[in-house]
Symmetry: D2
Subunit: 217 residues, 4 copies
């Protein structure tokens, strides 16, 4: 214990103490906390509200199954800010993204990762967090399917993570772009795109237990 506090972050065992969960599967919510205050966002918001309800339901089931939720969110260039401020801004400033933020409001024990760029993995702590959680399989959800979700899926694939991208839990500007992105993830990245309502998390956990993330460990 002393070691890590002397400016030495914990080694193996120590960190375990403070990370409450170990889970072979993790649910990622990407860029769902978003003020949507930009030209042409109406169409996206319209699709994103029903998506948010489906993600919320999936998150409830995930929590019950012991699968942690990780919010990976753009910092929107505000390097002084933190995630809770982004949440507050979306909830309190009368922005277009308010309803989505309300539906998917983070719980106190959800994980947060701020990302500066498109991919959830680029210049972020996500890979380190997944390693500590012992995660082999990620479920990707959020916006936009053909941009941040696709970039993150590519990076997950290169890291040998097993991929689930429930087709009803990602949206893009247009349905056509979303379909192409899902198709690319299914064909090239071997992602399972079964809709959230059809996804058995218990089966997924069993499956994940016997499908290691590459040859690690």
């Amino acid at each position: 214990m002393p070691a890590r506090h002397r400016g030495v972050p914990a080694n193996n065992e120590d960190l375990h103490g403070s990370v409450p969960e170990n889970s072979s599967v993790a649910l990622l919510l990407i860029d769902v906390i978003n003020d949507m205050e930009f030209e042409g966002a109406e169409a996206l918001v319209e699709q994103a509200i029903p998506m948010a309800h489906r993600i919320a339901e999936l998150k409830r089931r995930a929590r019950k199954a012991g699968i942690p939720a990780i919010y990976v969110n753009d910092n929107f260039g505000r390097w002084q800010s933190d995630f809770r401020r982004v949440v507050e801004h979306c909830l309190e400033d009368g922005v277009r993204g308010e309803e989505i933020a309300r539906i998917l409001r983070p719980d106190d024990d959800d994980y947060f990762v701020l990302k500066p760029k498109h991919s959830a993995f680029y210049a972020t702590t996500l890979d380190t967090l997944l390693t500590y959680l012992g995660t082999r399989t990620v479920i990707l959800t959020g916006v936009a399917g053909n941009i941040c979700i696709l970039f993150s899926a590519n990076d997950a694939y290169m890291r040998d993570l097993n991929l689930f991208v429930p087709a009803d839990c990602v949206v893009s500007n247009t349905v056509d772009e979303n379909d192409h992105a899902l198709d690319q993830m299914r064909k090239v990245l071997k992602a399972d795109i079964t809709e959230s309502t059809e996804l058995s998390l218990d089966r997924l956990l069993e499956w994940s237990a016997v499908h290691p993330r590459s040859s690690r460990g």
Copy 2:
């Protein structure tokens, strides 16, 4: 503007809008927000309080000179947490690190980077932030000199950043360990370890303007 909000973080120009400063020099405060609640921390706290006053003075001068301050802080394995909570914990829970946190309490427009491991650069957004700020020279301060500061200095050196490590603004568990670390940074990493009171920030800014970070750009 629209582009980045569609789940697309800003490209060049857009980000500039939200990053208020461009600065060839940046002041890093590493792991100064720390509850110091571990066995044997007394000696470190004793040294860290006068250090904190010197860093606070340097930070005041830096602000006047237009040099941004970046807090790079351990997340202490609490991935659900954010920096403001770490600050609150240190200020409000009667911990040993309270006085240091009070002296170095972050301002609203300071930058924050959470780090999961020893180096300020490992699995963090720091390199991306420095790139956007156009930073070529970093001033490293904080704890512990022979661990997180040294690890961060090594990584800064490999990224061709010019290094200043004011000898009076870093402390380690023992003075001997601190001296060895400073020596290593001076000799191997070509760090300038001039004490903060002797450091002319105006001269440093002039010097940095003509000393590029490697051959970038």
Copy 3:
């Protein structure tokens, strides 16, 4: 000079000595040295031969214009191997990829980067090399358009590099997959997909001179 040889790789100035060129633009040839010995490769080889001739011509023009060529090639899981062996294997073992390798045989002063995964940037030296070359704009060519080229393009975009992907210098398994990938790069990554025969390298160099790679230095 001494410093770097003592196990200290060169800092700024020193490396300049051994990197013969500085160029705001670089031509990348991705996975073009490939034995193509896999089921179903015939269709890809058929398309790749005319592509190889066009890349070879583009490479000749690039050399004349002072733009360096960088081969970024899969190591095909052979970690004991090096790029010259991969080249020899493709030229001498009677493999399907022989003609392509002959057309695009590397010159002695071309650059090499071995990649272990899909993206030219993931776990490779490419970003460091581009930084030393002062490169702001990359021209991506090679196979496969919808996989390694697309993954590399995404990573180049996140690194704020300007992107050119000549539509006639990338091929995928099917024309449809190639078109979708080019479309994605054009729309999402703002790539210029002008065909190589229409591309003025002189104009591109002029353009690149005034379009910095993000705000770097």
Copy 4:
């Protein structure tokens, strides 16, 4: 198999085919192939020759125990070069480093990783290779103890690899610098610095089998 050759590097199972070994322990030889053609190298060469004999003996024992050897070597700013050329240069051009290179000449099935900077991990394929090998424990050897070895050890530590740095298998410019570096690695990085002659590789393999690299997998 087809998938990976279509420009798609192998996923899990496929790579296994081409990586001949799986080993919880790996022996790293850092910057031992070095022409030593720089002012003041005499003292280093003098120390490095006996060190090279000890590393060679350790490598022989490692091979017998099924522990792979990985050469991680500076590319000396010659990005057109590959490791075999660096080896040839050191063996054939009458350089000061010739004897060391002869003693530690790589075998055909040793692994190679080219590094552009000080740390064996920075902008290299090493972490990916270790992941595929399933390595949890690294034995670091080579030059210089207080620079490339120390930088690499720091990075190995942040990646939760267990560290062995046999004190008789690393040298620095001065014995004093070497001792300080070993001391730092022992105290801060928890490295075992037992001399190679005292190191039981069988016991180390047994120990490593029950000491996982963090919580991975």
